[in-house]
């Protein structure tokens, strides 16, 4: 039996506002417990919410970036349930009239093909606090610093068909929110969290199977593992003649398994109704246009521009525009060295290989844009050859010497003195009479042998063009 996995993702993104969604409390990560929980966040009686303008702007920004309908009149609702990390006993969210409506996102699959994934909606809501279970002898400790932080919940259509597609979608989303600067997207710190709705069906079936919701997935890798695991669990149950129960499951990354969250099963009846402490948000065309004007160039546009402006291949342009940081790095290098193609080769080649090896992101690159730009500049002005440049690049790591200092101190400068090259050429010709005879008999291929020998003798430093010209001249003489 061939099975197909059907996945929809609900991604919670913490918006990078200085203060909370409805209060003036700070949102800095890692503060001492409850030092960022003010009277509204603690649900002191009589306190009231006022909406953070920046949170709204960020939500609209996201909506425009995914070509979504912007809710001209969005309404906050109360979602009622009791939990110690939810101080008011309700979460202020948006049910019927979200700020961001239907949109879409284009992802690139492993085979290089593109797929468009529908975004159902994205709504603003408050984050909850945290429950800590250790060290309190049978009690839990509640920290409400995070309570009330602005979240954008982005809901996808159930259009993802494999764990890999889900990861591609999530990475694309991550890239967009970072491009827009609306969140740091740090999954380890919980600024981007993912719930996955997973079901399986026989390939070719049109009805969806019963789905489960997996909560608490906090890395790209875990998303893939959790979905793979859950899909297999469901397939095993069905193949054994069982039925899937619609439930919420928790992904446990230590054991690499999902398990049922029974505590959340009890009669979820959230009793949503319009939050009477807030009025409808009305967004007009002028507001939308003012947000649109602030939108940075997004990856698709950037990719096209890289092709037209720099003459890059579509592939290179795609790699270089995949994240805002990568694109910014590349363009800074170009600005310094003045050669886009060389810059593209170096950033996607040697630099990327180095980052991959050390598991670093480009913003953590041990080689700054200044140094890489200077290095490429020296290739361009023929101070060093491309080959020698690789030696210099290696030498840049682990110290702060400039490119020129390294070239100078290690004597890597290209030899361009005609006299010196001529001497090399003469020596090589004299040492290899047999090959000279072959060449002169019409065996052109032997020419490469002479280049190799001369380069070897110069320790790679001879200017290749000059060497080439001189060899041609002397051999034919």
């Amino acid at each position: 039996m061939v099975w197909e996995t059907v996945i929809g993702l609900e991604v919670h993104v913490q918006l990078a506002t200085k203060s909370k969604l409805f209060s003036g409390s700070s949102t800095t990560f890692g503060a001492a417990p409850n030092t960022q929980a003010g009277v509204y966040d603690l649900a002191m009686p009589g306190t009231l919410p006022v909406l953070n303008e920046q949170a709204l702007r960020m939500a609209v920004k996201f909506g425009l970036a995914v070509d979504a309908e912007i809710g001209r009149r969005s309404v906050f609702d109360r979602k009622n349930y009791f939990y110690p990390d939810l101080p008011k006993g309700y979460q202020v969210s948006q049910l019927q009239f979200p700020t961001v409506g239907k949109g879409s996102l284009q992802i690139t699959l492993e085979d290089g093909s593109e797929k468009v994934i529908g975004i159902t909606r994205a709504h603003l809501e408050e984050d909850a606090g945290k429950s800590l279970h250790e060290d309190f002898e049978g009690l839990s400790g509640i920290d409400l610093n995070r309570a009330g932080t602005a979240l954008l919940e982005i809901v996808s259509e159930p259009e993802l068909r494999s764990a890999k597609e889900a990861v591609a979608y999530l990475k694309k989303l991550h890239s967009i929110i970072r491009y827009l600067g609306i969140s740091d997207g740090n999954m380890a710190q919980g600024s981007m969290r993912c719930d996955a709705n997973v079901s399986v069906r026989k390939l070719g079936a049109t009805e969806f199977g019963t789905r489960t919701e997996i909560k608490n997935i906090n890395s790209f890798r875990f998303v893939e593992k959790a979905i793979l695991h859950e899909a297999q669990r469901q397939i095993d149950i069905i193949e054994d003649g069982g039925r899937i129960i619609q439930e919420t499951r928790l992904y446990d990354d230590d054991r690499d398994e999902t398990r049922s969250m029974r505590s959340k099963e009890v009669a979820n009846d959230y009793r949503y109704f319009p939050e009477p402490d807030l009025l409808p948000i009305v967004i007009d065309e002028a507001y939308i246009e003012s947000v649109r004007a602030e939108l940075p160039e997004l990856s698709i546009a950037k990719r096209a521009r890289f092709v037209s402006q720099y003459g890059l291949s579509d592939y290179d342009a795609g790699v270089l525009s995949s994240s805002r940081e990568m694109a910014d790095y590349f363009e800074e290098v170009v600005k310094i060295c003045g050669d886009a193609k060389l810059s593209a080769n170096w950033v996607t080649g040697d630099l990327q290989a180095l980052l991959n090896k050390s598991d670093l992101e480009i913003e953590q690159s041990p080689v700054s844009t200044q140094r890489l730009g200077a290095l490429i500049g020296r290739i361009k002005d023929q101070t060093i050859s491309s080959k020698i440049a690789k030696t210099v690049f290696e030498a840049l790591l682990g110290n702060t010497h400039s490119v020129d200092e390294i070239i100078e101190s290690q004597g890597l400068k290209q030899v361009t003195d005609t006299g010196a090259i001529e001497q090399l050429v003469d020596e090589v010709i004299a040492a290899n009479p047999e090959q000279v005879a072959q060449f002169r008999a019409g065996k052109d291929k032997v020419f490469a042998f002479f280049i190799g020998q001369a380069m070897k003798a110069s320790k790679g430093k001879a200017n290749p063009e000059q060497l080439n010209a001189l060899l041609q001249q002397k051999l034919k003489a």
Partner: protein, 487 residues
């Protein structure tokens, strides 16, 4: 000196006839003498009052005073006062010392008033008789066998018995106007959004509104000048500055068009109340007003819609009382759920629990459309009825309550009969309009004691100044508001 209006006290303080400290001591002495009977105060803040009185006297000496500087007032115990016990009439908050000030409290403090204490109220403002308070019922100063009305019953009784010069109240379905009518004083609920709700413990957020409880429309205007105005902390508070409510008090009533809802004169209205209303209308006609009948065809559904909307909002508003961060927590909870359930069941009284249950039910899956949405649709119809009426008239006048104050315990068996007593006031909250209750007559109780009768004046959206003007003109030509119970 304690039996005068705020306007009179303000003039006396200005003339130096007595100091705020002397006045405050006088009120504190009256509270000591009479509060045991009326139970109007939950907390008396004597030290705070004397300190504020001294500060007010110093301000007057420096010439930095306003009309209310040095006037002693009481706050309904629904308003948070920093470092003062704020109970909302509930065991749930019997130990709650508020960590911040309500905007209304801040504004009065800035005006230099003197806080005598916190007044008793129905628990979480849910009641029309002040019998649901955890701190015991309040007694009506006209007849201590009777209720003062609710939920701002402590404030109304304190003003009527001269245990303060003025008081704050809140009104969700009549909680300022009905006790004002029962206690023979003036109680004003402004338009929804006119006064900030920050720091006012929420019952039903789309209906709650603070307002003055005092002895005259002029006093209400003086209080409104302090209370009304924008507040950046309340999203539902109007942005525009409030007018000076004193300047238009003496505008003439000639040509005023009064509408009387025919539904309010129908079955259920007590004969004495109807007679008082008719007499009041004659007074207005004598001042140059014309009276015509208006139609509020959906008013009879206002109580039904209200008992969906208010409990629904309350069911969520009261979820924060969970025993985690403040307030009552049950002893030795077995587990988390036990802590929630016992803290809330032991901390809330029966009426509050009933309303939470009704609201929870109305919002629950399968009933939301039939109850909550239906109630909101009726709310629109009620609002439209008022809009239509205000195309023809400037003010709507009718009874505040069908009857005079009832006896303590009289209506406890069936909550629904008590709910129906709010039939004239609730629609005004659903529509968000300004309404004032002013004394307009008196009935005799079987024991011979006089019982006040109130009439209600309802204005169009944000027509507070006009409503106060009409009420003031009535009070310039009648003396019902000057009558005092024997204390």
């Amino acid at each position: 000196m304690s039996r005068r209006t705020v306007a009179e006290l303000s003039r006396s303080l200005a003339k130096g006839e007595f100091s705020s400290t002397e006045l405050t001591r006088d009120y504190l002495a009256r509270i000591r003498a009479h509060n045991a009977l009326y139970n109007a105060y939950i907390t008396v803040t004597e030290d705070l009052a004397l300190a504020q009185a001294a500060a007010a006297d110093a301000r007057r000496a420096r010439g930095e005073h306003g009309p209310l500087t040095g006037i002693p007032l009481a706050h309904k115990d629904i308003f948070c006062i920093q470092d003062v016990l704020t109970t909302c009439g509930s065991k749930m908050l019997a130990n709650f010392v508020a960590p911040y000030n309500a905007t209304v409290v801040e504004r009065f403090n800035a005006a230099g008033t003197v806080t005598l204490g916190k007044t008793n109220m129905d628990e979480f403002a849910m009641g029309s008789s002040n019998e649901t308070s955890y701190f015991g019922p309040v007694r009506n100063p006209w007849d201590p066998e009777r209720v003062p009305g609710g939920s701002s019953g402590g404030s109304a009784a304190a003003v009527a018995a001269d245990l303060c010069a003025m008081a704050t109240g809140t009104d969700t379905g009549g909680s300022i106007r009905q006790p004002a009518a029962f206690c023979g004083i003036t109680g004003f609920k402004p338009s929804y959004g006119r006064i900030s709700r920050w720091g006012m413990i929420a019952f039903a957020s789309s209906l709650d509104q603070a307002g003055p409880i005092c002895k005259s429309a002029e006093d209400a205007a003086l209080m409104m000048n302090v209370m009304a105005g924008p507040d950046s902390r309340d999203s539902t508070c109007v942005d525009s500055a409030a007018p000076n409510y004193m300047t238009s008090l003496n505008d003439p009533l000639k040509g005023l068009r009064i509408g009387v809802p025919k539904q309010h004169l129908a079955k259920g209205l007590g004969a004495e109340v109807e007679a008082a209303l008719q007499a009041a209308l004659k007074v207005f006609e004598g001042l140059g007003a014309t009276v015509k009948e208006v139609d509020l065809p959906n008013n009879h559904l206002s109580v039904s819609a209200y008992y969906v909307i208010a409990p629904a909002e309350a069911s969520a508003n009261l979820s924060r009382f969970d025993g985690v961060r403040y307030g009552y927590r049950c002893a030795n909870p077995a587990n988390l759920e036990d802590m929630y359930k016992r803290s809330r069941s032991e901390g809330f009284g029966n009426e509050v629990k009933r309303r939470i249950m009704v609201g929870t039910y109305a919002l629950s899956a399968g009933y939301y459309d039939a109850y909550y949405i239906k109630a909101q649709q009726i709310r629109r119809l009620i609002k439209q009825d008022f809009d239509k009426a205000f195309q023809e008239v400037d003010v709507i006048i009718g009874p505040t309550t069908p009857h005079t104050a009832f006896k303590v315990g009289e209506k406890n068996d069936d909550p629904v009969t008590m709910y129906l007593e709010d039939i004239y006031t609730i629609g005004v909250n659903l529509a968000g309009l300004p309404g004032i209750s002013i004394p307009a007559g008196s009935a005799k109780a079987p024991n011979g004691k006089p019982l006040p009768i109130g009439i209600q004046l309802v204005g169009n959206d944000f027509a507070e100044a006009r409503v106060l003007n009409i009420a003031h003109q009535f009070q310039q030509h009648t003396d019902w508001h000057l009558q005092r119970p024997e204390v």
